[in-house]
Symmetry: D2
Subunit: 334 residues, 4 copies
Amino acid sequence: MRVGIIGVSGYTGLELLKILINHPKFEISYLGTTEGSEDIADIHPSLQGVYSNPVEKTDIDEVAKECDLVFLALPHKTAMSYVKELFKFDLKIVDLSADYRLKRETYESYYVPHIDSENLTNSVYGLPELYREKITEAKLIANPGCYPTASILGTAPFLKYKKEGTATIIDAKSGVSGAGKKLSETTHFVTVNDNMFAYSPIDHRHSPEIEEKLTIQSGNPEKVIFVPHLVPVTRGMLASIYIQVEEELDPIAILKEFYRDEKFIRIREKPVSMKDVAGTHYCDIYAKYSDGTLYVESAIDNLLRGASSLAVANANLLAGFPEETGLPTIATVP
Amino acid sequence: MRVGIIGVSGYTGLELLKILINHPKFEISYLGTTEGSEDIADIHPSLQGVYSNPVEKTDIDEVAKECDLVFLALPHKTAMSYVKELFKFDLKIVDLSADYRLKRETYESYYVPHIDSENLTNSVYGLPELYREKITEAKLIANPGCYPTASILGTAPFLKYKKEGTATIIDAKSGVSGAGKKLSETTHFVTVNDNMFAYSPIDHRHSPEIEEKLTIQSGNPEKVIFVPHLVPVTRGMLASIYIQVEEELDPIAILKEFYRDEKFIRIREKPVSMKDVAGTHYCDIYAKYSDGTLYVESAIDNLLRGASSLAVANANLLAGFPEETGLPTIATVP
Amino acid sequence: MRVGIIGVSGYTGLELLKILINHPKFEISYLGTTEGSEDIADIHPSLQGVYSNPVEKTDIDEVAKECDLVFLALPHKTAMSYVKELFKFDLKIVDLSADYRLKRETYESYYVPHIDSENLTNSVYGLPELYREKITEAKLIANPGCYPTASILGTAPFLKYKKEGTATIIDAKSGVSGAGKKLSETTHFVTVNDNMFAYSPIDHRHSPEIEEKLTIQSGNPEKVIFVPHLVPVTRGMLASIYIQVEEELDPIAILKEFYRDEKFIRIREKPVSMKDVAGTHYCDIYAKYSDGTLYVESAIDNLLRGASSLAVANANLLAGFPEETGLPTIATVP
Amino acid sequence: MRVGIIGVSGYTGLELLKILINHPKFEISYLGTTEGSEDIADIHPSLQGVYSNPVEKTDIDEVAKECDLVFLALPHKTAMSYVKELFKFDLKIVDLSADYRLKRETYESYYVPHIDSENLTNSVYGLPELYREKITEAKLIANPGCYPTASILGTAPFLKYKKEGTATIIDAKSGVSGAGKKLSETTHFVTVNDNMFAYSPIDHRHSPEIEEKLTIQSGNPEKVIFVPHLVPVTRGMLASIYIQVEEELDPIAILKEFYRDEKFIRIREKPVSMKDVAGTHYCDIYAKYSDGTLYVESAIDNLLRGASSLAVANANLLAGFPEETGLPTIATVP
């Protein structure tokens, strides 16, 4: 099966490529960026000697001709301008942007006017633990954001125990690679090193994504108080979740039951850490009950389980391969 | 006024010394450690050329003779064994350990049996913003822990708006210096770098300290869900606090009113950062209301406002000097 | 004495300000940037509550009227356009840029055409340990670069022992703040964190500055092989210097003799570290001889001794104050 | 082929295991530590769900029975006490310690008295680029140190151009994982973070290892001035090498020719970086000539190319498999 990556110069593009190079079923048939490049190793020097391929100045017709499936690792807005065209062709699409994750009104109030709203209903939210069957039959996958992935996987098992009318509090911490390669004062080394701070508390764009999916899951309107923080770490994400519950419960037992058939969710008996999942597709979850409150923590690699390895998992499902095919399991630790 | 530091080899001991070297009113008359040392610069090489003094193998009688006021920068348990003796003499004591912060029963259930319980009632909890008057008249100060300082200062102004029966959630993040100089796998560079994790969630020893002081403050039994995290930062602390409130309120206005006369509390209009307070005695606070929940964040330098500069502020009050005398205000940023 | 800072929004501008706020002799009379700002704390939030002053859109005539001495913390090229005008007035100038450090030809081959070459001969290179007397009488100071400061202070004492015709090798390591606040891929957190690399090896612009000053010092043409590296540290600089010498010598004794009257050079008996000088005006030097080669290492805070505290030391000399007035001596460690 | 790892609890033990889990030819048949453990994931939590195996309290007879080849990831001195016994059996040994790397006298002057000196002549220094044929026929491999690996690979191609009688200067920088898991003040996060310093300059134990191997290579007595530095990085190593040469040369061309058949040496046209090799078996080399001096820099992952992947490369050769079998090539960047 021939696959392409559009937007291969960014961090998620690189991570996609690193997985696909050794994927036993997918054959990389197209690499594209806005500019093109003689060789991908000119953009990512770590690939020298490992993998060589020219990078095209992206052309939709070429993509359609060369690929059976395409990954879009592009900023929002750019992504939908490509999907609008690509959807007409006979190929599968995994979109890593936010463009097809939300209902139109929600999307437009947090991002920009949608230029391909007819395809919103054609997309499936690519979180296999919750939507595996629909993904299998889809043509267009809206790959979840990193914060929503960590948050939803930690919260979903406990929705039915939640005290009615209470908000779920999510205090999330992300490594800097989540902000992408784009230059900004916020990602300057001097700003981040030896520092930590919240940004867009409560108003962050990932907040409605979490609420919308949890609402679908529970069948009730779900409210979250979501506060993301930047930490001086390159990759890794930790979501600390606080849920008011009706009565005492055994959270580890509930987690083990909820995720009993899931290979990539690890229920931990001790607090989780970013490093134990960095470099892998795992989501590690730990939880503890105290006096009416449930504390849940969920750790992922923001670039893998929060973006690129999740995209490959979705592509595996779209292609009819076992979900785990080619996914990274061995952490970079130490 | 002659002051001594017992336990000058640790991080808080060094920070005390750095403040006292340039303090216009205190004269350093005694430095003590378990071992002693020919010169303090042999223990802290950064002091070479700046300050020179022999370090004594601590002797209680010498301390009593040489000092009008003494700082104890010692581990818990060791501290009370010194206080028990020193209290008999005519000198003031600022104890940076946990030994005199809690009621006996609470202390003993989280730490060890107390060997000087008669002096528990002689101690005053050294948080000037709440207990300034009592501090002024005390002989023995129990200097607050770093987590309680950041947490209490962020929470106290909102206690009267809190929804009855709800717990206050405190998701706290600390730099590694808070764990002290003692070697442990948790503070090994390889464990901490590019990593983040919670430790002792809900069960941490600082949890009852926060609850006890908030309970005194509000007059009602206060429950907190306290989860501390270690972050790859040397110094800095951020407490993210979530409070259920009865009705909509303007948190910035409440903070400005509550702390209107406080020189070392800065109410911020934007999210706070560890770096803006590192190196200073400031506590920066920001808050935001959303739909029944109040989000408050409070940042301090864990070694200064969370330990050593707070100890000097308390010493200033004990000695009758203006509270701000000699306190650091200029951050190390960038 | 009234002093101004032009370019107060950058890292060196902030460090100048932090020293001058508590300087007992200088009174800050003017703060300028390209844009201006209502208050300096809007640019540097850590100053809120500490220091307040409007920032002007820089105007030369105003500067001349308001200041007896002015610091220029500007990029090269911009600096000389200001000096050209300011020099006509009766005020002293300390320029932190590279514009007046080099001979015209050298400058122009590494930077840009010089637009104020007549003033090149009016400037004095501001390294007090080598040029104290000239500085005292100057009107315009060319404040040295950070790499040259660390390199020259480590090398100068050994020039007369050097084997004829050999090059001095300087393997230098700098914290990221040395690259300034400007955004670039090189200073992105993700590029720098958990990484280390050389840049502009041998060809770096600071190389001719070091050679020119060492040549003046020794009276012979001096050649250096200079390789700078970026390290994942905010502030700090370490120069590792390798010198071929004619015969065995006792480098510590030579250093102690050479710098016997210098308060801000500390000769160390053990290898130096960035942290022991960070936050101070000190230059720490250690050296060791082995079999015809001399290894010297020199550590400074790149923003202070390598820029802003050095600028204040020069200003003190220009103004006739004791050189050490107001200079920072207490390191931020831990 | 059945392989065992003795000392699997350390960093190099873990890295060995991570490579061997997916190695297509080796079957892991024995894991040992001093203490033993119910499961390897109890020691290395990142392995949970990935790989499960009990860890034995090491027993020599068991090792001999269960393994055709054994890796010793042990401290020096402990390693030779095992080799002394294991050598009597019919199995291959790859020793990652320093115990069989040096001539007896050299070893004993830098380490401890040797208790298995008869086997010193039975060992082969495991650097395939220089000793591939001998390795193939060996029974016991002395796996090189990380500093010698980076240093020798960078220096060897230029030995014949070196100016007679001059010392090679090696200014090396290592990530903290090179110091191992053992606790020490030097590896405490607070000591290392935002800091950099040299340690054991010139006298480091890896200095004679480099000299001995370069001497064998060139046929002349080789002298190095070796200064290692610790940098705030978990994994990565950079050796900056300065060589006096007789005449101008084209170092890139020489490198390309010298390593023309080597798959794991990458000659770079631009300065190398730690991150481009971290996670891989690659050694990246860059060089530049200037005025009689050659600057060479060589980057490796200290735990892989400097220890564990090199050990597997050697094991592949011992076992008659292609050298590259199972070796990691994809960097963890970003």
